[in-house]
Symmetry: C2
Subunit: 182 residues, 2 copies
C-alpha cells in the first residue's frame, strides 16, 4: 500500500486524513518533527515555505496543512495567525472587535501543501459563514463556537464531528487532494 | 572604517542605526533582500531564525531588528505580529479590545540580532508604558498614537523624532549593541 507522510502533530487532523485517504488505498504516516511557519499574508505562502523546508527531510510524498479564520470586516484578521490570536484574544476578542460591525461575514480556509517527486501542489478548501453574536456550543476547538457555516443553523461547536466533517474547510481541501490522487 | 550590514528595507531604522553606530567608527550598509520571519512566541526566536537564514548570504558582521507592542491584558497581543495587526485592526482595534479593561499596561520591545564571525547575539530594548484611551498625535508610525511611555505625558506620536529616540525601545536595543561593539 503506498504511503503518504503527513507532517502534523495534531491527532485530529491525522485521523481526518486517514478517514479520507485510506479508502483510496493509501497509508498515512505521521511526521511529528514540526517545521517553521513563516509570517505571510496567505496560507498558501505558509504551506509552500513548509514544503520547501521539509523537502529532503521527510520522505515523499508528504503533505502538511494550515488553516485559518478570515473575517471580512477585519481585513481578513486573524487569518494565518488564527492559532496565536485564539490563544491570546480568544473568541471573546473576535466578538468584541465585531461589536459595532454590520457585516459578520467570515470564512474558514484550509490549505494542504503536497510534495511528490519534487513537485509541489496546494489544495484549498473553504467554508463561508458568519461570526455569531455570541459563542455557542462546546464541541470542536478554536473559533468553532463563533462560526456558523452558511449552510447551517448551528455553529461548528454545536455539531457532531461527522456533521462538521461534511462542511469543513479541511475536509474540502482533503477532497481536492483525493481527486488529485485518484 | 569597518562596515556592518543592516538587513532592513526600512529607511527610518537605517538612519537611526547610522546615527547611533557611526560615531563609534562603523559604516552601516543596507541589505534590502529581506528574509523570512517565522511565526513564534518571541521576537528573539524571529531574530535568530533570520540570522540563520541570512548567514552565508549577507556579509558579516550583519544585524537585523524586529519589534512589537505587547499588551499585558491581551496576553502579549499583538506581540510579534504587531505589523500585521496594525495593518488589519489598526489602533482602533487595540482600543476596542481594551475598552473594558482596567489595566492598560503595555511595552514596546525591540530585538536586534547580530552575527559576527559565525557567532550570534541578541540585544533587547524595552520601553514600559500604557495604552491611551484614545489615539493622540500624528508623528511616528504604527501604534505610536496609542502608546504613552511611563516616563512621558505624551504618546510617541506626539513627540519629535529626537524625543522619541531618547525613550524608544529600538534605540535602547541599539545602545546594547553599541556597548557590545565598544
Amino acid at each position: 500500500m503506498p504511503t503518504i507522510t503527513f507532517a502534523t502533530g495534531n491527532e485530529g487532523k491525522l485521523s481526518e486524513a486517514r478517514q479520507q485517504l485510506e479508502p483510496l488505498g493509501f497509508e498515512i504516516d505521521a511526521y511529528g518533527g514540526g517545521y517553521p511557519e513563516i509570517q505571510a499574508d496567505t496560507l498558501e505562502a505558509v504551506a509552500r515555505f513548509g514544503l520547501e523546508t521539509l523537502a529532503g527531510e521527510v520522505p515523499e510524498p508528504f503533505l502538511l496543512e494550515d488553516a485559518g479564520l478570515f473575517v471580512d470586516a477585519l481585513e481578513g484578521f486573524p487569518g494565518v495567525y488564527s492559532s496565536y490570536v485564539f490563544g491570546t484574544l480568544g473568541n471573546e476578542g473576535i466578538l468584541s472587535l465585531l461589536a459595532d460591525t454590520e457585516d459578520p461575514s467570515a470564512r474558514f480556509r484550509s490549505v494542504i501543501g503536497f510534495r511528490v517527486d519534487g513537485e509541489e501542489h496546494t489544495f484549498v478548501g473553504e467554508v463561508e459563514g458568519t461570526i455569531t453574536e455570541q459563542a455557542r456550543g462546546s464541541a470542536g476547538f478554536g473559533f468553532d463556537p463563533i462560526f456558523q457555516p452558511r449552510e447551517a443553523e448551528r455553529t461548528f461547536a454545536e455539531m457532531s464531528p461527522e456533521e462538521k466533517i461534511e462542511l469543513s474547510h479541511r475536509s474540502r481541501a482533503l477532497a481536492r487532494l483525493r481527486e488529485h490522487l485518484a
